[in-house]
């Protein structure tokens, strides 16, 4: 059984599901996906990208020079998409269990949904 992904890692991978993105676009997309709740620091983002690249979940798709500086665009690999799918299933299972128990405890609240 694979280890559950940390929330920032899950959000980065989910952001890359839609399209390949460069560093700043990823920061903004993670913030948007989490509805402003997760605001990644640049150091944290690159530490995560280093790790995910090393694990083969993310790859560098292209490199270009913008305003005299190198900009890399990152994309999700097949293994990365699998990891997101496994995590999404795990979270869905957990949510389903929580809802079932809520319905038993408070039918009016849990059952209303």
């Amino acid at each position: 059984m694979s280890k559950p992904l940390q929330e920032p890692t899950f959000l980065i991978l989910t952001a890359l599901l839609e399209q390949s993105q460069h560093g700043y676009a990823l920061l903004a997309d993670v913030e948007r996906l989490s509805q402003g709740r997760v605001s990644l620091r640049v150091g944290t983002l690159y530490a995560a990208l280093d790790r995910l690249t090393g694990e083969g979940l993310v790859a560098v798709e292209s490199e270009e020079v913008v305003r005299g500086r190198l900009r890399r665009t990152y994309c999700l690999t097949g293994a990365g998409a699998d990891a997101v799918a496994v995590e999404a299933d795990r979270m869905a299972d957990l949510a389903r269990t929580a809802r079932t128990r809520l319905r038993r405890l408070r039918p009016a609240v849990g059952g209303a949904r």
Partner: protein, 321 residues
């Protein structure tokens, strides 16, 4: 200072090789993020960059495998403390039996009592546990030694300040807390901190050389303590006493020399790091500095510096290939 130079300065926390690959890219994102989030984000961003930068440095440097090398230094210091503890314990035993010619000032039913003996027993037991690969027990014993030693120092200080109500619950009337005692306490705490936890102690023990010379050295250290115990008995039987020879064999220069060689042999073969060597230097020098007026301490300080210098030199030459 412009935003760009500020972030370039912060990015220096990362190793040069990392900056060569990622530096410009990260700078671009940092500037864009500040434009979007405002300058208030600088402080947390700076803390994150420095933190991740230092982690990247530790991971990239072959000489800075912190957990392993720190564990190695901890095991080496624990063994050194154990040797000195065993030497002192043997001395106490002899005094208890009236075989060393010293006045028997603190006796309970002819057994010479020193309030420090539980600390020394704890260090000898720590070394035993580590050798037997009982790492959890070893670390527990090391921290027991620290607690006992801390209690003695605290009780000594309290008595010195006439806080009789603290002294009354401790054996402070046996000892006075001088600079040497306090500095040995620093050494004890350092050793326990270096051992850290069972996993770190295990890596330290596993990095120990197990070749023929290691066995010779350990046998030599044990032999010194035993010979130091036997010498006064032999001299006593011959109706003469050479306490100084026995002292030197037990806790003097011979075991210290052997222990130093053991530490050097260990550090030369294991994946030690600069951090571990620096910690050893500090830990070794603290007791010596506290007794700077003692000629033996000056010799010991010179010896410690030599050992550390040799190890650092060997490390550098190995890194340079």
């Amino acid at each position: 200072m412009s935003a760009e130079s500020r972030y370039r300065f912060l990015l220096r926390a990362y190793p040069r090789s990392y900056r060569a690959v990622r530096g410009d890219e990260m700078l671009d994102v940092l500037l864009a993020a500040e434009e979007q989030r405002g300058r208030w984000s600088l402080l947390p961003e700076a803390a994150t960059l420095v933190g991740h930068g230092l982690v990247a440095r530790v991971r990239q440097s072959p000489g800075l495998r912190v957990p392993a090398s720190v564990g190695v230094a901890g095991v080496a210091l624990a063994l050194l403390l154990a040797v000195l503890g065993a030497a002192q314990l043997s001395q106490m035993g002899l005094r208890g039996l009236g075989l060393d010619g010293y006045p028997h000032a603190w006796q309970v039913w002819r057994v010479w009592v020193d309030p420090r003996w539980p600390v020394q027993v704890a260090w000898v037991a720590t070394a035993g546990a580590l050798v037997l690969r009982r790492y959890r027990l070893g670390v527990l014993l090391a921290w027991t030694a620290v607690l006992l030693h801390g209690w003695l120092v605290l009780a000594g200080i309290a008595t010195g300040w006439s806080l009789w109500w603290v002294g009354a619950v401790g054996p402070a009337w046996f000892i006075s807390v001088n600079a040497t005692q306090a500095s040995w306490f620093v050494l004890t705490v350092t050793a326990a901190l270096l051992l850290g936890g069972p996993a770190r102690a295990r890596r330290g023990v596993e990095a120990f050389p197990v070749g023929r010379w290691a066995h010779v050295l350990v046998a030599g250290l044990v032999g010194c303590v035993l010979a130091g115990v036997a010498a006064p008995v032999v001299f006593r039987l011959g109706d003469s006493m050479d306490v100084r020879l026995a002292e030197n064999l037990r806790g003097g220069f011979v075991p210290l020399l052997l222990a130093s060689v053991a530490v050097v042999a260990l550090l030369r073969r294991s994946p030690y790091g600069r951090g571990a060597v620096a910690l050893l230097a500090v830990a070794g020098l603290v007791p010596v500095l506290a007794r700077w007026s003692d000629p033996a301490a000056v010799v010991l300080a010179g010896g410690t510096l030599f050992v550390v210098g040799y190890v650092a030199g060997a490390q550098r030459s190995r890194r340079l290939g």
